[in-house]
Symmetry: C2
Subunit: 337 residues, 2 copies
């Protein structure tokens, strides 16, 4: 077999030190911008580093210093909305001087493995986006190093979430304001946050004295499940047709809108649809979907701040972020019936 060629040993701090005629310790001081070096040596060392193409070895650095400066983030690869969040997390982490390490969850990689991997790679804390693990599993991770749950409230664990109750309330209020009364909810099945949104919807309907008209229909988290649910809805003779739908998330809502239009209904003339997330993704989608916007940047920032606070010795907390309804073209006044 082919013997792996010995890699051309990367240049080390010792090389830089030798080249610039100073000690390794001083070179280290210069490279990490600590104080205690004269301007003259700073220049010398930096020049040498530049010349040799020196790049500090982050593993060695992390190994020695207690702080690794690493923040782990677990996310589902197949959720575009998570990706948006991660992008903001990068920005927020940088401001706090942290590097981000990603742990992907997908068909071929379980959440448990992802979290394990993050812990092993020396992260100081972990942000878990829409973690699906049980409370006990997450608590076990949290025992090892601070865990912040994003988009899902987990009792006993630091959580940063959107206030689904407020979001649902805004959606329902908006529709009621347009004259709708028969407002149904298509839920997210067993997706994270589905239960919360479901009960938030019921509470909102109750609050508008429409409790007896409330209906929850099972749907899911993606386009196909949305389209399927819309199909079932139209075919089902048991209940009178709704004039508006509040859907678990944007992807599902997109499927719903599409299925409705295919069936010959006009959105919003015949039926209004509200999504949830206001994902970039849904904004792109031609259809101007009215949606409950989660403040991605604020969520990201808050999550990082919670992690930093935990690292500073603070206990876990729970944070709600207010969403804001964004009205576009998928909602309109209720048809006269």
């Amino acid at each position: 077999m082919n013997q792996p060629a010995p890699p051309p040993r990367r240049t080390t701090l010792a090389d830089v030190a030798r080249e610039s005629g100073v000690s390794v310790a001083l070179a280290s001081i210069v490279m990490r911008g600590a104080e205690g070096a004269s301007e003259a040596s700073r220049l010398k060392v930096k020049a040498a580093a530049q010349a040799l193409g020196y790049r500090p070895d982050s593993r060695a650095r992390a190994l020695r210093s207690l702080r690794s400066g690493l923040l782990g983030v677990s996310l589902r690869l197949d959720e575009p909305f998570h990706a948006e969040l991660v992008d903001e997390i990068y920005a927020a982490a940088e401001e706090h001087g942290y590097e981000v390490v990603l742990g992907a969850v997908g068909k071929h990689r379980s959440e448990a493995r992802a979290l394990e991997g993050l812990a092993d790679s020396g992260c100081e804390a972990i942000l878990a986006i829409a973690a699906s693990g049980t409370r006990a599993e997450l608590a076990a991770v949290d025992a090892g190093l601070p865990l912040v749950s994003l988009l899902r409230e987990v009792p006993g664990i630091d959580s940063v979430c959107t206030d689904d109750a407020s979001g649902m309330d805004q959606a329902v209020a908006h529709l009621v304001g347009l004259g709708h009364r028969r407002i149904f909810h298509l839920d997210g099945g067993d997706a994270v946050a589905s239960a919360e949104r479901r009960s938030a919807y019921l509470a909102a309907m109750e609050r508008h004295s429409l409790g007896d008209l409330a209906r929850v229909l099972p749907a899911g988290a993606d386009e196909r499940e949305g389209a399927a649910a819309a199909g079932r809805l139209l075919a089902d003779p048991r209940h009178p047709a709704p004039s508006a739908l509040v859907v678990f998330n944007d992807r599902c809502a997109l499927g719903v809108v599409d299925a409705l239009e295919r069936a010959g209904l006009e959105v919003p003339a015949d039926i209004s649809v509200v999504g949830f997330d206001d994902s970039q993704f849904a904004r792109l989608a031609h259809i101007g979907l009215s949606s409950v916007r989660q403040d991605v940047a604020a969520l990201a920032r808050a999550a990082i701040e919670r992690a930093v606070a935990r690292l500073a010795g603070q206990g876990p907390g729970l944070q709600w972020h207010a969403p804001a309804l964004v009205v576009r073209n998928s909602t309109g006044i209720a048809p006269v019936s």
Copy 2:
């Protein structure tokens, strides 16, 4: 300010060794499953590790051994198709005994930074998905450690791509077989692979003696740009309406289909549409989009194999993977004109 609490030092190999009454070296042997330990000590050490909740520190491990066992992967967060590829890469990497480190590119993080980050974290090689950097930039990275470019052919750099020419040819052939002649291409603008697909389209049209009917219209890589391009197409009186469109990718095609249907055209009765990628994402989307499928698993596997080969001293190469047209409901026989 709040002083960071001293983290509760994680248990180390030395702890395990002490607990089980053996040397650190032996404990190491057991933990990494190397040979040279008796069954008895294996049991002892494993038990102790279990009891103490020991988890090896991957940084220390990587620092010492020449092989880090790490493979870096850069990807765009806002491209769901990249996510699919990454998931397969996880699977393939595992088979080869490698761990995957992700380097995300997004609004707040440039590709250069992502690649730098991967190199610094000690990856042995890097897979860059749809790298946007110039040839020189990528060559510079490749000088440091093996780089494999996925989805984009970069001269002089190891590349694993889909054979766009074949894909386009299948798409055009399929449409021609259905009686279409006026087949236009909506391109990807400045997206990676856009130029390749554009010329592949032109070549395919030529091959079917339809060169003089070929038209390339500027579009883009996402839904909105697709919808916009479709709008422009319908409004433009300069050329006779096409009976079929071959679109840069699925996302764009979805926007196109939607805009066409909104404009009152029926797909495929009035006009056929073919996408490219056959992304999971597009498959979900209710609309059954006919699309040129890139073999994600094969691409992932091949990329990993190239990386491993490079690590074993082999020179860079170029690999084409044959795509396969998947016919669904967005293509049909040409309308009589």
